[in-house]
């Protein structure tokens, strides 16, 4: 039978941050790119995000953070994904992330950071190129 390969994305807002416009816009944008996007809602702990990512067997986790806690929360998600054996998941981040924090985040295992002004298309293309077709 023909295997249908849909890209599944988990969109999450870690920590104490109620600004979800960006995450919502991206959720709809990626849907329009043919992806299945699971939106988990606000104020998620890294543990909640990782548990959802494992159960939903996603290819991508998108983290959006505008509260300034990205240096703590993003790496925590990556670590816990690894601990669950889900290191193949592509982790991308967005929100208000100062440029000087990006190298640290990348060293911590976040695959890419997309700041304000990035087009949905650019993010969609990045995902399509980086998700392994396993």
């Amino acid at each position: 039978m023909a295997e249908e390969r849909k890209i599944r994305v988990l969109m999450a807002k870690p920590g104490l941050d109620g600004h979800d416009r960006g995450a919502r816009v991206l959720t709809l944008g990626l849907r329009d790119e043919g992806m299945e996007v699971i939106y988990t809602g606000l104020r998620q702990s890294p543990e909640m995000i990782v548990q959802a990512a494992v159960q939903e067997d996603v290819d991508v986790v998108g983290l959006s953070c505008l509260s300034g806690a990205h240096k703590t929360l993003f790496p925590a998600v990556v670590e816990q994904l690894k601990a669950k054996g889900a290191e193949g998941v592509v982790v991308i981040g967005g929100g208000i992330i100062p440029k000087e924090d990006v190298p640290f985040l990348k060293d911590s295992g976040i695959n890419a950071i997309f700041g304000p002004g990035t087009s949905v298309k650019e993010i969609a293309n990045y995902i399509k190129e980086n998700v392994k077709q396993n």
């Binding site: 849909k6 709809l28 543990e47 548990q51 959802a52 159960q55």
Partner: protein, 324 residues
Amino acid sequence: MELVDKMLAGNEASLARLITLVEREAAEVPQIMSRIYPNLGKAYSVGFTGPPGAGKSSLVDRLTAVMRGKGCTVGIIACDPSSPFSGGAVLGDRIRMQQHYVDKGVFIRSLATRDSRGGLSRAARGAVKLMDASGKDFVLVETVGVGQTELDIVEAADTTVVILVPEAGDAIQTMKAGLLEIADIFVVNKADREGADGLVAELEKMLHQSPKQEWWQVPVLMTQATKDIGVRELYESILKHKEALEQTGKLALHRQRQRRSEFMHTIQQRLVARILKLVEREGSMVTSLERVEKGDIDPYSASMEILNNKNLLRQWLAELEQEN
């Protein structure tokens, strides 16, 4: 299959991956299903259906809390629609179930309907089986928000709960066929809203006027999911229905019917896929399709041309012989 062994040993990631394979209709699905077959039948599955915004996810969430309180483990399958335009989907049922995210006794999986039109993902039945095999006591299946005819849920669940809200419509709506015929339990959610009593009365009248079932009286319950009102009663109603099904031997009969329909569906699905593959390779499909699109030939005659094509059937037989 290592993945199945790991899933049976309680590994969550393996369960998740197996559901993905069922969703993709991967080649190893028959093998997976035959491996888990001896482990099936222990879980009790409950379907939840109703119009969009009726409170299906919220009720499932609260009911899960009640079930966890009784020491039962719960699997949840939540369906949301795929876009017919992009093929993408936004899966947002999980958002109502946050209290269970880190509970090891609850496994939540969102499924997009993809090309299914019956209110459920085609993979839902397979996912129910996998959760059953993984040892969940209850599997709760939530459909997309449905209208009147998306009734696949009956094929996937032991008990079907139809959730309505006071705005659902007048007496005539409730007399129509479809959604209202499949209910083992009716729930009027958001029961604090105006019109709730009226809807309950209408539903009870409708049930009263329908041919009586001796073994089960369909109850009409009132709930307010977000305030946790009526949820315990719903849980008890589900248990009562389960008991009635078991005592009358109807559960076995219902599951027998489900197996039959699944068997037929699987054959149909795989047969169509095989034939289409052959036809596409032959090229005759492309030619026929072009002629149909241009309007040179009607679709019925064109499809008969393909189905009566002896070469195609010969080719198929030859391939089957090679495979065996």
